[in-house]
Subunit: 330 residues, 2 copies
Amino acid sequence: MNKRVSPEQIAEGIRSGNRRFIAKGITLLESLLPADKDNAEKLLELILPYTGNALRLGITGVPGVGKSTFIENFGLHAIEQGRKVAVLAIDPSSARGGGSILGDKTRMVHLATDPAAYIRPTPSGSMSGGVAFATREAIFVCEAAGFDLIIVETVGVGQSDVLVDSMTDCFMALMLPGAGDELQGIKRGIMEMGDIFVVNKADGERMQQARIAKMQIQQGVHLMSPKRTWWAAQTLLCSALEKQGIEEIYTLCMEFYCTASENNALQAKRREQALLWMESYIRNHLITAFFENENVQQHITAITADVQAHRISPMAAGRKMLSIYLTDRA
Amino acid sequence: MNKRVSPEQIAEGIRSGNRRFIAKGITLLESLLPADKDNAEKLLELILPYTGNALRLGITGVPGVGKSTFIENFGLHAIEQGRKVAVLAIDPSSARGGGSILGDKTRMVHLATDPAAYIRPTPSGSMSGGVAFATREAIFVCEAAGFDLIIVETVGVGQSDVLVDSMTDCFMALMLPGAGDELQGIKRGIMEMGDIFVVNKADGERMQQARIAKMQIQQGVHLMSPKRTWWAAQTLLCSALEKQGIEEIYTLCMEFYCTASENNALQAKRREQALLWMESYIRNHLITAFFENENVQQHITAITADVQAHRISPMAAGRKMLSIYLTDRA
């Protein structure tokens, strides 16, 4: 495919469901190259009218909870029900580590090869490598391409759950049975955010443990003040491996979607999310404009060295850099 | 105390260890009133030369882990060893909730009334109430006042652990025994960040469970790549209530401090933190200047309504607001 493709051509390709254009579109929206910025915004404006018709489902769960197997079988079931399914990922990697913890492209082989599914592999390497996590934008691309169930998965490290919640309608948390598993990590944030809890690996000898886990989760949920007036978080058992419980969970998701629409809650949440998006757009542009400013770039290395050598306080250094920036702009 | 006190007078009061001036200084640094900004920066510059001599210890732990009791007895032991102890808190409250989850001023009564201790109560209400979390600045105030062990506590929800780690030298995580306690929340982030792990409530019938928890934590730590080349995270047992294990933990903290100094790691970490501080100062000022701009304030309500009514995309709205801002500034 020619590298010089216009935003209009990419938008058209996305609308026709062409996978190469979907990938090309997301790549453009993820690009941090200044030269790509205008085209990226143009593309987004072109596809926005065709977005908003999917159920956006966030799924979180620690490594080992069986997330890939669950998403694969959940996605295949949704496809049987007539849905077109896209899977995106927010991979916070490790604050220190670097590597992806979501695994590679070889997971979910059945779903990946289904014509009604699209799986976006996680960007390889870290954000500093010239690629931003443009998950919100990727959701829009998939919706414009006709996918009507968008799954956004994360491992729930740091703020990634909050991020996922800020761009999805329904938040599902996968949990492990086994009271002894302290690495489970049911944190207050998850208990508060979850709309649907799924205890996975509820099979064979783990069945009893799974039932206990379900009870504990429900108790934990009840300790929290309810997130929504029109929906009480529910906990279901599942064995993704044995394909048990998938149908029930899918039905519950659809119930959530219907209830949310009927209560106007879906629309309200998305309106809130649109404002958050506007704010983050403004923030990012203000900060980018600062650090890309020529005068700033000319002085930042010396100031950084001064701060590290204690010749100037961080605050005074910040003030100095701001005044260099503002003088240049005036 | 007269309300019109100069930054110089406050700095002097802080240096003399006067508690009312310490409180007044922190309040000034937390103020979001534009009128206070210059005085706040002036105060910070005045006290900065007298900072940096304390051990800055971050402590995290879920509600119920016994953090207040631990900090009280740990602090009292440190005072016996000749230290002056200040306790600050980063309270992320709840993303939705609002109320403080760290409890009120009545906790740690013995430590609170000790002349060698200072406990800063958490700001009541939410950040939007005109008070920012100025924990970093509060650390400096306490150091300038002569406190040489600064404890920064948090409940570890969302990013607050990362925040605490970005302003302290040593990171201690309090854990609960009891394999059945899935609300424990040992998440990958904590396992990676912790320098010292303490299994609290290791007493009576819980002793066996505490030993198992200690083993599990050590296993979890070993799964992570080591955070530092010169320090391996250690796990100790403790019963804060029965004052068992406190001395050993204090000794380990001091060992950490010595090793970090000898390896120049303490200085290196603080240099990094100074740069982060400069960056966050710049970010905050760029964003504040935008939202305080008269032209921006004049247009933001209408644009917000347009975004919510889908008359304009969030991105186009952001672009429009930025151009309003930049036109005004030019």
